[in-house]
């Protein structure tokens, strides 16, 4: 069953000068127990989509979608309170800089206890605080922090970013969410902790069937841990499908460039040889090209590319390009 099903999500920013379309008709779906990667460079709108899902965008942003359903329920049509209730129960999110998402003045114990919802504590009310504490310690053990005594008494600045991110995950899983959105969870971490964290997320996915939406600007760091992938460029969905299939045979020139620009995916590439790179730079929001937004940078752009390509499907592989790459002329 589809957990999250979004069709033609459009997010626009109201500026004093104009309405800027930051996310342009993006489809996104997530099955139960799936880990999906959402890859895109800065300005691609990946964080906006995440924020739209949890409904925390401020008034300057305007969100519209043809379908925006969470387990069969249309979220956008619900009242604000109902929306918050569902999202608060089922969806959790962790951010890029964990030390900034934690309360800097409160001890970890307090913050963790607060994250545990009441309905998960079964026991008479006089045992509540004890149970809460037990639960908090249990959560820390689950995310792989053994030394719970000292961590619980600490204040965020005393802990490393890696530990802080683990605590964020502990707080996120406290309510047994159906979906965990991880917005660049490892950018601020050391490379040794990065792998640990991804493994942690993968294990929760396998043990509890929790779906994960993994957002990153680097394809190579999340490719190993995701089953399916959505690639965004400048607010447009360029390609979506199973990770292995996309890595093996990308149809969109942008995905192709993304894969080829990473030395890791090119085992035959000699050290110190030039990497494959698209010319030009990411356009700014006010000056987005019409039609396919990759147009000016695309190596095989043609006249037709000024029209926005529709999303096409080949088995389970979606792409939006007029001239998809095929295996032959690669």
């Amino acid at each position: 069953m589809l957990l999250l099903d979004i069709k033609n999500l459009t997010i626009e920013l109201k500026t004093p000068d104009a309405l800027v379309r930051a996310v342009d008709r993006v489809n996104l779906s997530l099955r139960e127990g799936e880990i999906r990667g959402l890859v895109g460079e800065s300005g691609s709108g990946k964080s906006l989509i995440a924020k739209a899902i949890v409904g925390v965008l401020n008034k300057r942003w305007q969100v519209t979608a043809d379908r925006f359903s969470w387990r069969g329920q249309d979220l956008l049509n619900l009242s604000y309170d109902e929306q918050r209730k569902i999202i608060g129960r089922d969806i959790a999110m962790i951010y890029q800089e964990p030390s900034r998402s934690l309360d800097p003045t409160a001890a970890i114990l307090e913050q963790l206890e607060e994250a545990v919802p009441d309905h998960l504590l079964d026991g008479p009310w006089w045992k509540r605080s004890y149970l809460r504490r037990r639960k908090a310690i249990g959560l820390l053990h689950k995310v792989g922090i053994r030394d719970h005594q000292s961590v619980l008494q600490s204040v965020p600045y005393q802990l490393s970013e890696g530990i802080c991110q683990k605590i964020m995950i502990a707080m996120a899983i406290a309510k047994n969410p159906k979906l965990l959105i991880a917005d660049e969870p490892t950018t601020a971490l050391e490379s040794t902790t990065q792998a640990q964290l991804f493994r942690l997320l993968a294990s929760f996915n396998q043990l509890k069937g929790m779906s994960v939406l993994l957002i990153s600007h680097e394809l190579e760091s999340i490719a190993r841990y995701t089953q399916s992938l959505s690639v965004l460029y400048c607010g447009q969905l360029v390609e979506a499908g199973e990770t292995a299939a996309i890595l093996k045979q990308p149809y969109h020139p942008y995905t192709h460039a993304l894969i080829k620009s990473v030395p890791e995916f090119q085992p035959n590439l000699q050290p110190k040889t030039p990497l494959y790179a698209l010319p030009g730079s990411i356009p700014v929001l006010q000056h987005l090209p019409i039609g396919c937004r990759l147009g000016p940078r695309c190596p095989n752009a043609r006249k037709e590319c000024v029209k926005t390509p529709s999303l096409e499907r080949l088995q389970n592989h979606y792409f939006s390009c007029h001239f998809p790459l095929t295996g032959k002329n690669d």
Partner: protein, 298 residues
């Protein structure tokens, strides 16, 4: 990574100052404040030319003339005359020079001195800096009006002494603010980068620090200007500042306080002008602060 930077339009906002002006001009209240402010500023410059009568000429035949809108009033004397027969309108115009003009001079003086001392405190390290700092911090604990009164009490009353007193009273906050602004700038990466380019202290100061704290300086100056205006008026009202014949607004209110039932206009209008002057300065200051904040957010 995923932050939306809206790059400003090239034609509309090239330099940071133009950007600031663009944000500033979007706020109606700030523009209104700026208009009133410039009106007062023009008045300060041109009041000598604009006055219809000599503000100090005592006309025995026209004592306590009501304003022109009442039955007995004369058009030549729009706000009437005071108990010595001096034209109130002319006196008010000239008063702008004292209350507002001198406030501006005071702030300028304090700014220049503050910039010197603040730079010294900000760019030096160790004992010199901390001595300068803590002595001035002591002075900051006393409200500026009280400090000015103390200084006037020592120097004796008079407009010139008031000017010095207020300048000295404003100084600590300037030095403190400038020192902090400079210290904040010195921590920036671009200062280190500039030093690595081979710049010496003076070049770092003139090329980087000054342009970057300019905005803060203007902000501090506007806030200080409203304080200074109020202080001068208050000291004039208390009889410590401008002395009797001088047409300073605060002194004028004090003079006509006895006549408040006979000629309420002679108290109300100077008060209104002080209010407007301070309001306009505060509106401009608020507008600047908002604009600077908005620009940073972009």
């Amino acid at each position: 990574m995923a932050k939306f930077r809206l790059l400003p339009d090239e034609q509309l906002a090239r330099s940071p100052f133009k950007q600031l002006w663009r944000e500033f001009s979007r706020q109606h209240s700030a523009i209104a404040g700026l208009l009133i402010f410039s009106l007062f500023f023009l008045l300060v410059l041109l009041s000598a030319v604009l006055t219809p009568h000599d503000p100090y000429l005592q006309n025995d035949s026209l004592l306590l003339l009501p304003p022109s809108w009442s039955q007995q009033g004369l058009v030549q004397y729009p706000f009437g005359t005071d108990d010595l027969g001096r034209d109130l309108f002319s006196r008010l115009l000239v008063g702008a020079r004292y209350t507002f003009g001198i406030a501006m001079i005071t702030v300028m003086g304090a700014l220049v001195m503050g910039l010197l001392l603040g730079t010294l405190a900000g760019m030096t390290k160790g004992l010199k800096s901390s001595v300068l700092n803590h002595v001035l911090d002591l002075a900051l604990t006393i409200p500026s009006l009280l400090l000015a009164i103390i200084i006037v009490a020592i120097l004796g009353p008079g407009l010139q002494n008031t000017t010095w007193a207020i300048m000295l009273a404003l100084l600590p906050q300037f030095v403190h603010g400038i020192r902090n602004a400079i210290a904040e700038q010195l921590n920036q990466d671009y200062v280190i980068a500039y030093r690595l380019d081979g710049a010496n202290n003076w070049q770092v100061f003139s090329r980087i620090i000054l342009p970057n704290i300019w905005e803060k300086l203007t902000l501090m100056a506007t806030m200080a200007l409203s304080t200074a205006t109020l202080d001068i008026a208050a000291l004039g009202f208390l009889g410590l500042g401008a002395q009797a014949p001088t047409a300073e607004w605060g002194a004028m209110i004090a003079d006509s306080l006895d006549l408040i039932y006979i000629a309420p206009v002679s108290v109300a209008i100077p008060g209104l002008l002080i209010f407007l002057a301070v309001l306009s300065v505060n509106l401009v200051g608020d507008g600047l602060r908002n604009a600077a904040k908005k620009r940073r957010e972009n």
